[in-house]
Each structure stands twice: as C-alpha cells, then as structure tokens.
C-alpha cells in the first residue's frame, strides 16, 4: 500500500491555477523528492496535503484514509508531519523546548498530572529531554540546547525544524526545502540524517532544489511545472526525461 496517495488535486488562486490535476503515489518507506522550478506549486501541494487550505477538487489519502475536511492538527496527529519553507522555529523558546514541542502529539501525561507534579509526568519530561538532546546531537546542536531558538543562524534553524519534526515520530514526513540556506557541511549532515530517518522506516517526501542531493538520496522523483505534474519515476529515468530536462534541468545542469 502506498503511504500517500494524491488523486486529481487542483487548486486555483484567483486567475492562477497553482495546482492542476496532480496525481501521484508515495510508496511506504521510500524517500520521494518533489522537484520543479520556482513557483511550480510544490509548497502549494504540501499545503493542500496537510489541508492548510482545502483543494478545489481531488482527494488525498494517507495510509488509505481520506484527509478531506480534517484540520491540520488532526492530520499531524495521524503522523503526517510537515516542515515549512521558511524556518518556523518558535520564537521566545529555547532550542530544546522547540524540539520538545514536536512530541506534543504523543504526550502521555495531561495538564492535571503536570499541575500536581506527579512523578510519572516529571519522569516523562526528563525522558523526552534526553531523547531530544540525542536527536539534537545528530546535527551538532546539542550544545546549543539552552539558547533562544531564533538566535541560531538560519541553517541551524532549518535543521532544528527537521529535528523538531522527527521528534514527532512521523509516519510520513514532508520537508519543504530543508537544505535551502544550509552550507555544504550542513547539507551533508542533512543528507545522512535523511538516510538514517528512512532506514528507521519513516516515509519521507522532500522538496529540494539541489539536484545532486536529490539524485543521491531519493529513490523516487515527482516533477511539477506550472502547477501540473510532468513526470514521476526513479532518479535515473528523471535525469534523462526530455520534458524534465526542458522544464527544469536544462537551466541548471546536473
């Protein structure tokens, strides 16, 4: 069964057809890349999948369940977690607290238990902090844990957002340009992180402009242009697909 099934999705903003009858599947445990020129409608696709706004027509199914009419919060609770194109770490909170926010959907202890300082609730908090620090360590941010999240450089903020999403233990992870603004070392870190995530059995879909990164980590590529789907297949096929080359790779050789 495919983890995500998008069928005939369309969305119009005024006169602009931002998504035009797009259909594709994301196989379970795969790492799928979504590529396309600027303004092609990639972010819009993510927004439609997570129901930030409703599509004009079309269906999105997550593990066989239709997401129509569900709020973004409900969809996240089902294990479909996304990040945003511009880093959206929570200001006014530390790096560690930001990561802990990711686990919110799975917290076992409620408000009352925490108000009473019950041992179980405090223990859960401590356990989560340890896990969060371990995750932060993967991208070398563990020693920044007590800093204000917005004081981090942009690249680190983007990595933090990915870590925060991982803390949510997603079943399907949608990453919107996680490598934008990262330097070469950070990009390499991200690439190995994504491979590790996938090895853990998480399905990943990532919007990415960096072609060499896409070609090395992805096992399936979906290409959109001007709102419409123009190709889908393994990287080796996409690389030689004439329409894709014309639309996209042509202007940015691999």
């Amino acid at each position: 069964m495919s983890a995500l099934r998008v069928q005939n999705l369309s969305k119009r903003f005024g006169g602009l057809l931002a998504t035009n009858d797009v259909s594709f599947d994301v196989a379970e445990h795969s790492l799928t890349a979504l590529i396309g020129p600027n303004g092609a409608g990639k972010t819009t696709l993510f927004n439609l999948i997570t129901n930030l706004f409703a599509p004009d027509s079309g269906v999105v199914e997550f593990n066989g369940i239709s997401l129509a009419g569900l709020s973004p919060g409900r969809i996240a609770k089902m294990g479909l977690i996304r990040t945003f194109q511009t880093a959206r770490v929570f200001p006014g909170m530390t790096v560690l607290e930001n990561v802990l926010c990711g686990r919110h959907r799975l917290l076992g202890h409620g408000l009352f238990e925490n108000m009473m300082w019950l041992p179980g609730a405090r223990a859960e908090e401590r356990r989560l902090a340890t896990q969060a620090l371990a995750l932060l360590d993967l991208v070398g941010l563990a020693d920044q844990a007590e800093r204000s999240a917005t004081d981090l450089p942009m690249g680190a903020q983007k990595l933090l957002e990915v870590i925060r999403a991982l803390m949510a233990q997603p079943r399907l992870l949608l990453l919107d340009e996680p490598a934008a603004g990262l330097n070469d070392t950070e990009t390499a870190e991200l690439a190995s992180l994504l491979r590790a995530v996938r090895a853990c059995g998480v399905t990943v879909m990532v919007v990415e402009h960096n072609m060499s990164l896409v070609m090395t980590i992805a096992d399936h590529v979906v290409v959109v242009e001007a709102g419409g789907l123009i190709a889908a297949g393994p990287p080796s096929e996409i690389q030689v697909n004439p329409r894709v080359i014309a639309a996209y790779l042509g202007e940015e050789p691999v």
Binding site: G92, M93, E97, A168
Partner: protein, 615 residues
C-alpha cells in the same frame, strides 16, 4: 410616530459621535494595522483644553476650539513620534494594542493631574434651548455634532480619494512593502495617520464635550463606544465605521426608550457579539486577507527569559521566607495593600497563562472577578452558604461563561478576541449595576462576612494574609508544573505561530480553551477572596477599568513569566499606598510604564531583572 422620529433623530445624533470616534480607529487601523485604544483620550484632552482656553485664557469659543485641536494634534505628534511609530516596526500587533492601552492610561493620568477628578459640564456652542423643527425638539449641540461629523466625513473622503497625500495613505493601507518600494515614506504616513486621528478625536471631543458630562476617564468610555462601533461596522472600511457608529447610536436610543436605559449597554454589546459570531470582520468588509503559510517575520517576539535552576530555587526560597515574615514588620495599611497585591496576583497568574504564555488578549478579566466576588457575597449573605461553597459556585458560573465566550471567540483572531472579551467585561459591568437585587447595584453589596474554613474564621488581616499567601503558593506550584510541561510549551508555540503548532499536532483550540478556563477560574477565585477581604463589593472595584489595570500590571511586571506579574501588582498597589501624596500620579505613571515597558522592556521588569541576574 413623532416620538419614534424623535428617538431616531436622537439615535442619529448619538450615532454621529460614535461614527466620529470610529473613523479615527479605522484610519489608524488601515494605515498601521493597529487598534489605537488611545483614540478616546484625544477627545477628553481636546474637550478640556478647549474649555480651559475659553475659561482661563478668555479666548473666544471658536479660537479656543481651534487651539485645542492644534495642541492635541501636536501632543499626538509627540506621542506618536516617541512611542507609536517606533513600536510599529518592533512589536507584534497584540503588543501594540497593549501599548495603545498604555497611551490611553497616560492620557487619563495627564487629565487627572491637570484637571483633577471632578466632572466638567461644558457650555453648549449655541445655548441650552433646543430648537423646534416640524414638531421635533432638537438640542442645538446635537445639530453641531451631526454637522461636524458630516464635514469631517466629506473632508476625509476628499483627502483620501483626491489628493496625493491620500493616495500615499491608501498605498500604505493596502500594501506597506509595495508602498515603500514606490517611494512612499511609510513611517511618515503612519505618524500622519496617528496625528490625523488625534485631530479628529480632538474635534470630536470639542463638539461632543458639551453634550456629555466630562471627566478624566470619559476617554475610556468613548474609546470603548468607538471600538464597538467600528467592530460592528467593519474596521477596514470607512463606510463601515460610519454605519457601525450610526447603528450603535440607534440601537442604544431605541433600547433606552423602549426597554430600559440600564440594559441599553447590554443590548449594544449583544449586537456586537452577534456580529462577531456571524461576520467577524464586521458588516462591511475591507481588503482581502494575506497568504497564511508565510509568517510576518520581522515582528515576532524573540526573547527568552529563563532563570537558571539554581537561581530559581534560591529565589523561590527567599521569596517564601520574605512572604512569611513580611506581615510582622509592616503596618496595617501596608499589610492591607500586600493582601490586595497577592489577590490581584492570583488573577494575574491566570491572565498570564492566557496572555503571556498563550498570546490571547483578554480585556475582560475583571468580569470573572466580578462573577466570583458577587457569587461569594450573594450566596453567603442571602443564602447563608458556607464561603467555600460560594467560591466554588462562583468558579462554576465563571467556567460556564468562559466556555461560552471561548466558543464564540476562539475562531476569532487576536484583535477580535480582545474585543469580545472587552464586550464580555462591559456586559458584566452593566449586569452588576442592573441586577441590583443580587449585586446591590451601583452602591455595592454590603455586609459580606469573613471567610471561614471548617469553622475557622479568617477574621484578622494577618489570618487573611496567610490564607491568601497559601493560595498563591499552591497556584504558583501548579502553574509552574503546567508551564514546564507539554501544555506550557504548546501555549507558547500557539502564541507565536499557531499554524506551525497545529502542523505538529498541537490541539490549538483545546489548549486555548484550557488556558481560558484556567484564567477564568483563577480570576473568579481571586474575586471571591477580594470580596471577603473588603466585606464589600461595588461594580467599580471589579469593572472594566480594573481589567485594563490588570493588563498594565501584567505587561509592566513581565508577561510570559510566572513571577513577573507579582512585581507589576506590587508596584501599582503597594507604592500608591506607601506614598499617599503621590497617588494622584498613579494613573499617569502606570500609563507611562505600560507604554514604555511594551516598547523597551518586552518582558517587563522581571525580564530585565532576569537579564541582570544571568550576567
């Protein structure tokens, strides 16, 4: 029939006043995106300046009016230049709202210092005798108000539609970034809109002044009426502001004539709530919304205030010891002030959870204090209930009100949430005055007994103090636990970025509801304790001014920190008691502090203190 026409004409006159006020709001909102609560302050200032120029300097009325408008505008320019415009580029819209509340308080304080607290009756422009037109009696001042409103509407329309200046203003209203790119000096336009709104306010004050009784806090009432009018009509459009003003005036007059003047307020607020539910952006809608998946980057709040664990434990210990010892070294007056400080602190902790952590503005928190207070007073005096049961009843009623209010408001964005809570507070105000069998009406509920617990009466100040201290400690411990857990983090996430929070599976509505419930419970509890402390409760002790004072205390002390509000509460409660002669300056000082803190100390005094301690 004549009667009806008379009422309708009266409503239009009244409505013109509201429309004038509403236009000031709309102007500033459209250009800056901020609700400027100081709007009503311009009116009082203008009216009283005109009065003094006439009576003290002996200027002819027309010259005095002109002088008043000029001086008020100059003052608006100064205030706008120093606080409002710099704030626009640094603060979030909700913090700007707080700041403008500070400006309103500042205006009130200024009027209080210069003109005192007595009411003024200003002479009408053309004598007291109403003129008769076709069998209708029209007060001359009402005609002046309508005429001036009309002139201002036409003038404003002409300026916006036909002049270059108006074009620049509209450009800023529609898209500031684009306006900047085509060479409009956006900051100048923002200042200009503020000053122009000030001038409109002053003109309104000068013509309206003689029609009402004027005192230092009239500005607040005018602000609220204008705010309600503009919310009903639609804040993003001038026709909306005018329509809202007229509608509010008509409903008010009709309700006064055919129902009861006591509830005309309640009816107007009911109208507001209906509009908010049915059509949150008002009857007449303005420009379209923006892209939601991008955040307004520059203006989010970015400070992190955390004490190290060791400092926090030492601090808590020192504070607790101080709290236990303090009553033995203070005189009776100061002990009383300290008890009040702590009672207000209980309310503030709740408000802090809602506003400081959750970012949901509430301008009606004293409404819950009123519910708690009157429930405690009424059930113990009229039905001989044990105090604890009465307190619980108050909490129950508050919770029900809070959930209804939350159900209505949670779909609304920050601004409208502020508005709905304000309307709620005002509604409770008018109920407190109107239901005099329960509340004792304007003169208050007397003879409330002592609080007692299983036969132990808290009948001395010292006992009351330790009771309140105990409650404070319990509440603090519980809230510290809550804020350090998933709930606290979720609230903070929602405060700055509800969308990103939802994308992580945070139940945004559920968390807001919980925060709302906590704040209502704590306010209600504090209100009950307040009633037991004074053995008396009157509407002005727990009215809307109190709500605004609570917000000041929170911002000055430090929102988003648990102990910060204690500083704010102590500052505004203990200091005026300790230095009685300076009490006159309390309002002015709290206004200056509120505006200053929101601009320069984003986490108030506590935030500043933390930064010093961390060094």
């Amino acid at each position: 029939m004549t009667e009806l026409i008379q009422i309708v004409v009266g409503g239009i006159m009244q409505g013109s006043i509201f429309a004038l006020l509403a236009m000031g709001f709309s102007l500033v909102y459209r250009v800056t995106g901020v609700i400027n609560l100081a709007q009503g302050g311009f009116c009082t200032l203008g009216a009283l300046l005109g009065f003094s120029m006439q009576s003290r300097l002996g200027l002819p009325p027309a010259l005095a009016a002109l002088g008043a408008v000029l001086v008020t505008s100059a003052f608006a320019a100064l205030v706008g230049r120093v606080t409002f415009v710099p704030g626009l580029s640094r603060l979030t819209n909700s913090n700007m709202l707080m700041m403008s509340a500070g400006l309103l308080t500042l205006f009130e304080g200024l009027v209080l210092v210069v003109w005192g607290s007595q009411p003024y009756a200003l002479p009408p422009f053309s004598g007291e005798r109403p003129i008769a037109v076709a069998g209708l009696l029209l007060p001359t001042q009402g005609i002046w108000v309508m005429g001036v409103t009309f002139v201002i509407i036409v003038g404003l329309w002409y300026m916006l539609a036909r002049t270059r200046l108006g074009q620049s203003l509209r450009a800023c209203a529609e898209n500031p970034t684009a306006a900047r790119l085509v060479g409009v000096d956006v900051a100048r336009m923002q200042l200009f809109s503020f000053v122009l709104a000030g001038a409109i306010g002053a003109v309104a004050g000068v013509v309206v002044g003689p029609a009402i009784s004027l005192q230092f806090d009239t500005g607040r009432l005018l602000t609220i009426s204008g705010f309600v009018a503009v919310a009903i009509g639609g804040i993003a459009s001038f026709p909306g502001a005018i329509a809202g003003g007229l509608l509010l005036g008509l409903v008010g007059q009709l309700a006064t004539a055919y129902v009861s003047s006591l509830f005309s307020n309640a009816l107007a607020l009911g109208l507001l709530l209906i509009v908010l539910i049915w059509r949150p952006s008002g009857l007449i809608r303005g420009a379209a919304g923006r892209r939601q998946d991008v955040r307004d980057e520059a203006r989010v709040w970015t400070h992190v205030t955390r004490l190290s664990a060791r400092t926090a434990w030492i601090g808590a210990f020192v504070l607790l010891v101080a709290g236990l010892v303090l009553p033995w070294v203070l005189d009776a007056g100061l002990l009383g002030a300290l008890i009040i400080t702590l009672i207000l602190f209980i309310t503030l902790i709740g408000l802090d959870v809602l506003m400081g952590y959750g970012g949901q503005i509430s301008l009606g928190q004293a409404g819950f204090m009123a519910i708690g207070g009157y429930a405690a007073g009424y059930f113990t005096t009229a039905h001989d209930w044990p105090p604890v049961l009465a307190i619980l009843a108050g909490i129950g009623i508050s919770l029900v009100c809070a959930m209804i209010l939350a159900g209505v408001t949670l779909r609304l964005r920050g601004l409208y949430m502020a508005l709905a809570t304000l309307a709620f507070g005002l509604l409770i105000d008018s109920c407190a005055i109107g239901f005099d069998d329960i509340t004792g009406g304007p003169s208050g509920l007397v003879g409330i007994g002592d609080f007692d617990l299983f036969g132990f009466a808290f009948d001395t100040p010292l006992r009351m103090y330790y009771l309140v201290l105990g409650v404070v400690v319990l509440v603090l411990v519980a809230m510290a636990g809550a804020m350090r857990s998933g709930f606290g983090r979720a609230l903070q996430a929602i405060r700055t970025d509800p969308l990103a929070a939802a994308a992580l599976g945070v139940n945004v509505v559920g968390c807001k509801m919980a925060a709302f419930a906590i704040s209502a419970v704590l306010a209600s509890l504090a209100g009950s304790l307040y009633a037991f402390q004074f053995h008396f409760l009157s509407p002005d002790m727990v009215g809307t001014p109190r709500s605004l004072e609570l917000v000041s205390m929170l911002v000055i002390g430090g929102e988003g920190t648990l102990l910060g509000p204690l500083l704010g509460s102590a500052l505004l409660t203990v200091l005026p008691t300790a230095f009685q002669p300076l009490a006159l300056y309390k309002t002015l000082a709290s206004g200056v502090l509120l505006a200053g803190c929101s601009l320069y100390l984003p986490q108030g005094m506590f935030g500043a203190l933390t930064r010093v301690l961390r060094r």
